[in-house]
Symmetry: C3
Subunit: 140 residues, 3 copies
């Protein structure tokens, strides 16, 4: 386990625009506010969602689309740099009218309403290819 | 996307009372400690749960009740003002003995055990009716 | 509802080792960094998971094992002392390739990849047996 102690940065709350993309909105927040590293948390609802599942054997992402209104019961993720851009690594648990849930790596989702808390770290975190998992991870 | 930079406030941990209402307990915490804005996170278990799902077409909340013991696998929400009172906007992912899950907007739930972390912001956040979604959102 | 105002401590991000145990990694982080109290949040993936469900009637934990690759869609928990050791009370929502989810108290899980944010409190929290629930809770 590798870890890093980080100096605390600023705190933000954001309200995502109805009709915009959930993940892009978080990346826009990070870019507009100049956040290079942070963790975020959110809740709200989306009009649809595209989830990614990482196949640990083939080391490829499989996409699955849900074209239906969903609550965002919980969203947890982080902001760091990847290939020259700010990337919001975004996971979400979504739910339907009957309470049933879907979850995973949220690649995209059309915002119905979204409330985000972003905790900035006074640091620069950048992802690099990890050989073992073939994922872009932090070299802490 | 609208956002606001907020000054950090105090930090609280709370232990919810067995038999009390999950959301009311968080609102009592906010009232007792004088918290006007913040995000909270929690875990624990409830004896039952009432979830709300917001119908994005009819713009009405549909309620669904689960009269069974559930783990609170994850709870994410925020505190702000709504119609003259502190309101804990509370989402939760709950689970059963076989691991199966339900999730959504947690209107109510009888606490079995609950551990909450509340991060206060030194700010006053107040919800106002949003015309597009017919939800009470923050005008940031 | 009992609560405590806590002084803010340090902030950590950690990258969990592939092949190690998810919860043990968090406890190692807490021990290495000397964290006696804090909340943590995470996301990633595991190769398997053992969830606990607390039976509110018998007051026993039932274990259920999932021997399959899973996304960790959301992980929320806290660090405090229990019976002379640091204990990471860990809840997680996990998901499969089709988006379906399982969730609960994560006793163990083999890390595929994991990213953790740990928020330390400058305090000593220690769990004690609670008579009502027969759980180890904080006497706040």
């Amino acid at each position: 386990m590798d870890y890093q102690t980080l100096d605390a940065g600023r705190e933000f709350v954001a309200r995502l625009d109805t009709g915009a993309d959930w993940r892009s909105e978080i990346e826009t927040l990070a870019a507009d506010a100049g956040v290079d590293a942070g963790f975020f948390f959110g809740l709200g609802a989306v009009q649809d969602a595209e989830l990614y599942f990482y196949d640990q054997d083939t080391k490829e992402y499989d996409a699955i689309e849900f074209d239906e209104p969903l609550e965002v019961a919980a969203c947890v993720g982080n902001v760091s740099w990847l290939s020259g851009d700010r990337f919001a690594h975004t996971h979400a648990v979504c739910s339907r009218e009957d309470g049933s849930t879907i979850a995973g790596h949220l690649n995209a989702g059309t915002v119905f309403a979204g409330e985000i808390y972003l905790r900035e770290f006074d640091a620069h975190l950048e992802r690099e290819r990890d050989e073992t998992t073939d994922l872009d991870l932090w070299p802490l």
